[in-house]
């Protein structure tokens, strides 16, 4: 019941707790990484807040590319100098921030641009299928006469193809 209430309330406290724990652990054991990650992955957080889809496609889309922008600086931090100072230098560098946010922006653009393209593609496919099925029906009617399209069931009785086309 508690789980249900939590879900109904729109906030999953176990996730918040999990995230909090990760943040605390990162702060304790890898504070420079957390310093780079928090501002670097900010667009992903914003995307998560704005994303209304159940599957959080926008979050994944922005997050995936945002990570691409952040990861080179994380890798540099981990391999060169894993210190708070180095992390602060990265964060304060406008170029690095620009790279991180541009990658996230590119992810957002992908999220905006790909669905209409896919939708248009699927519509074309459906129209081609309908055309094929109509042609098949027409062949059947030519071969067997218009009464082949008269179904006894009154509820599902379709009109003859010729009429329907008109």
């Amino acid at each position: 019941m508690a789980v249900q209430n939590a879900t109904q309330g729109g906030r999953d406290w176990s996730k918040v707790l999990g995230m909090g724990t990760v943040m605390v652990l990162l702060a304790i054991f890898s504070l420079p990484t957390l310093i780079v990650l928090l501002p670097g992955m900010l667009p992903t957080g914003v995307a998560k807040v704005c994303d209304r889809t159940d599957q959080r496609y926008a979050t994944f889309c922005v997050g995936g590319l945002n990570l691409c922008g952040v990861f080179p600086y994380l890798l540099k931090l981990w391999t060169d100098d894993h210190s708070i100072n180095a992390a602060a230098n990265i964060i304060s560098d406008i170029f690095s921030i620009l790279v991180m946010y541009s990658a996230a922006g590119f992810g957002w653009m992908m999220f905006m641009a790909i669905p209409p393209v896919v939708s248009a593609f699927l519509t074309v496919l459906a129209q081609r299928r309908v055309t094929f099925l109509r042609s098949l029906q027409e062949d059947i009617v030519t071969e067997w006469g218009p009464e082949v399209s008269m179904i006894d069931d009154a509820d599902s009785k379709p009109a003859p193809v010729a009429n329907k086309r008109r």
């Binding site: 889809t53 599957q55 496609y57 926008a58 994944f60 889309c61 922005v62 997050g63 995936g64 590319l65 990570l67 691409c68 990861f71 080179p72 890798l75 391999t79 992810g107 992908m110 999220f111 641009a113 790909i114 669905p115 209409p116 393209v117 896919v118 939708s119 248009a120 699927l122 519509t123 459906a126 299928r129 309908v130 099925l133 109509r134 098949l136 029906q137 059947i140 009617v141 030519t142 071969e143 067997w144 006469g145 009464e147 082949v148 399209s149 179904i151 379709p158």
Partner: protein
């Protein structure tokens, strides 16, 4: 009192197209004749004419009339036997529209009847003077000519002493021979007796098959019950009716004249009903003493006491006879006056009432009538019955049972149970209903009244008032019940058309398509339709209600499935029913190739072909039909059109195609009907794709960077 007209399929106000109206003068001569006068004697020459070949043997000259052999309903023509020129024969051409006695005609072909003029051959052939086909019957030519002509010319003399041996014996022999094998003659009268030989030694009965029984007889020669009928409704009767006609014939021949020639027909009927036929027909004539008892016995009005052929034979051979005693029928002491005629008996009153129904209904409710009938012998019981009938009529004022006609029909049965069935203007014996209907429809063009009395069950009224039903009456009752059941069905092959053909074996089919062909027997039907195909409107069907009923009545095979299909409201089934019936006829009758008819039928098969769903099958059938039409074979066309295997395949294929069409339709509906949902779905797919690409890209970049760093 209400009277609603019967709704019948055809109103019959006109003759069928193409049927030539009969020679009314010739037909009426039967009633006008006194029995001594032969039919028209003046030589006639037809404007149109020429020889007509019958059965490829007898050459009938339509321009050479032989009036001395005429019958009231058939004209005689000269005939030449092409195979035997010495064979002396003549032909009688029957009147189209008048039923012939087909059973007797067929029986004459296979049996010999001593004492009866021999029927040699018959055929329905195109008859130029009428412009249509007619039944032509070839008879042996009686070389001695007509007996009455010989008597008039005093070539021969028949005295009272010659009557038993020279007149009665040969005639009763002929009547008996006929009766034993096929039935009564019912055309015995002085002008229908012939001498077979030139020496005038052998007297024979003349032709009797050219008209229904009693149709050609003057009323004097009919027993009183049949004499009061219309001549088309006199019925088959039996040999006792022939004995009656023999008695009247003897009177005419012995006296040399008709004793009642000057009496008006209605007065004669009145006298016969009141005083008995013997007294009325002999008039004041003094008959030879030895003939009085035999003649009274032969002319007895009660058929149960009238002499039969055995008694007549006994008299002829000098054996002991049982003469009928002179009895007087009950009569009133004072007459009842109805429409200026005075009545002493209920029989005359019943006869007169039937002629004036409205006046009769008023009369029976008058005090005068009530007082009169109360004093009539056993009149009180009759009065009770009459009151019951009147009361019943008053209960049914809104239906036909409350009509004057219906009530008077009942009154007639009550007043005179021996009288014929009377309704409206009709009077007929139960065994004469068929011919009555046929003549009213075929000649007068109006079957309405005859059909109405059957639908209104008038014969049943008559049967219920009879105290005892003899075997022939029981048969007639059964037959009428059967006809009524046929009338009740309105499908092709039934109805009034079926009634008329079922009750008249010798009545030609009245369908306008083949009326001119005068089709009497089933074997003639297909050739007649073949002929009609050349001139008929081929957009109409070759089987109409008349033809369907004619086939049902004449064809001795079970055709109910064909008729059922023919009656179907679905056009394709009905067409197939028509085709199957015609094909069945052609097959069973072994009819030759029918090119025109097949072409006609082939042109009507559109709906039957379209009953196949598959276009290729239809195309194939349409290509095949012309080939089969050229063969003239209806069975082959039927087999091709109604192939059970092909139909099954077509049906199964159609159902599969229907299923396939439906599946396609459902899929289209799914695609088209989704609308916003489909767009949303597509957008979600796009978002998913974008997320996937992004994740994949991210993982790829991370992996590459890690690998580069490690290396």
């Amino acid at each position: 009192m209400a009277e609603e007209p019967l709704e019948t399929e055809e109103t019959g106000t006109d003759l069928p197209d193409g049927l030539v109206p009969p020679d009314e003068d010739a037909l009426e001569s039967a009633d006008d004749s006194d029995g001594l006068m032969p039919p028209h004697k003046e030589p006639e020459s037809s404007g149109r004419g020429g020889p007509v070949l019958l059965r490829e043997r007898y050459l009938v000259d339509s321009g050479a009339r032989l009036p001395e052999f005429d019958q009231p309903s058939a004209k005689a023509y000269a005939v030449e036997d092409r195979r035997d020129l010495a064979n002396k024969v003549f032909a009688l051409v029957c009147t189209p529209g008048v039923p012939v006695r087909m059973d007797d005609i067929i029986a004459f072909r296979t049996m010999d009847f001593p004492g009866v003029l021999a029927l040699i051959e018959w055929e329905v052939v195109p008859w130029p003077p009428l412009g249509q086909s007619a039944m032509v019957i070839v008879y042996e030519k009686p070389l001695g000519g007509r007996v009455i002509d010989r008597l008039r010319r005093k070539d021969v003399r028949i005295t009272e002493y010659d009557v038993p041996r020279r007149l009665t014996e040969p005639l009763i022999e002929g009547l008996q021979a006929l009766n034993d094998k096929i039935g009564p003659h019912r055309a015995l009268r002085p002008d229908n007796l012939y001498y077979l030989d030139a020496d005038m030694q052998e007297m024979v009965l003349g032709p009797h098959v050219t008209a229904p029984p009693g149709f050609d007889q003057p009323p004097d020669f009919e027993p009183i019950d049949r004499a009061t009928c219309q001549r088309e409704g006199r019925g088959t009767g039996d040999i006792r009716d022939d004995v009656f006609a023999l008695g009247v014939t003897i009177i005419h021949i012995v006296t040399g004249y008709n004793p009642v020639a000057k009496v008006k027909p209605e007065n004669l009927i009145h006298q016969r009903l009141e005083n008995g036929s013997y007294t009325a027909l002999c008039g004041n004539t003094r008959l030879p003493l030895p003939l009085i008892e035999p003649l009274r016995s032969m002319l007895a009005d009660d058929p149960s006491v009238r002499w039969n052929h055995t008694e007549v034979n006994n008299w002829v051979t000098g054996q002991k006879t049982n003469p009928v005693k002179k009895t007087s029928s009950p009569r009133a002491e004072v007459p009842f006056r109805f429409r200026k005629r005075e009545h002493l008996t209920l029989a005359t009153l019943a006869w007169h009432f039937a002629q004036h129904p409205s006046d009769a209904v008023r009369a029976v409710q008058s005090d005068d009538f009530v007082n009169w009938i109360k004093r009539y012998p056993e009149g009180s019981a009759t009065l009770e019955s009459i009151r019951g009938a009147v009361q019943t009529a008053k209960f049914h004022t809104e239906s036909y049972q409350g009509s004057d006609y219906f009530l008077v029909s009942k009154l007639s049965n009550i007043l005179d149970p021996t009288a014929p069935i009377r309704y409206k203007d009709l009077a007929f014996m139960p065994d004469g209903f068929g011919t009555l209907l046929a003549i009213h429809w075929g000649l007068k063009g109006d079957p309405q009244e005859a059909a109405q009395l059957l639908a209104h069950d008038i014969p049943t009224l008559w049967f219920t008032t009879r105290e005892k039903l003899s075997r022939p009456l029981l048969d007639a009752q059964k037959n009428i019940a059967k006809l009524k059941s046929l009338l009740a069905i309105n499908d092709p092959g039934y109805g009034l058309e079926r009634v008329v053909y079922e009750s008249n074996r010798g009545f030609a089919c009245m369908s306008p398509l083949i009326a001119k062909s005068n089709v009497v027997v089933i074997e003639q039907l297909l050739p007649a339709l073949e002929l009609a195909a050349n001139s008929a409107d081929t957009s109409s069907r070759p089987i109409d209600r008349h033809i369907a009923a004619f086939i049902a009545a004449r064809f001795d095979q079970d055709i109910h499935p064909h008729l059922k299909a023919l009656a179907s409201p679905k056009e394709d089934t009905s067409i197939i029913g028509m085709l199957s019936l015609l094909a069945f006829l052609q097959w069973k009758l072994r009819a030759p190739s029918m090119l025109a008819l097949t072409s006609w039928v082939g042109g009507l098969l559109g709906p039957a072909i379209n009953a196949y769903h598959n276009r290729h099958t239809r195309d194939q059938l349409e290509k095949e039909i012309p080939r089969l039409v050229r063969k003239g074979s209806l069975p082959e066309i039927f087999n091709m059109i109604d192939d059970a295997e092909k139909r099954q395949e077509d049906g199964e294929g159609f159902r599969a195609a229907q299923e396939e069409w439906l599946q396609a339709e459902e899929e289209i509906r799914d695609i088209e009907g989704a609308g916003e949902e489909r767009l949303t779905k597509a957008e979600r797919s796009g978002q998913q794709a974008a997320a996937t690409i992004s994740i994949m890209l991210g993982l790829t970049v991370v992996s590459i960077l890690l690998v580069m760093e490690i290396m």
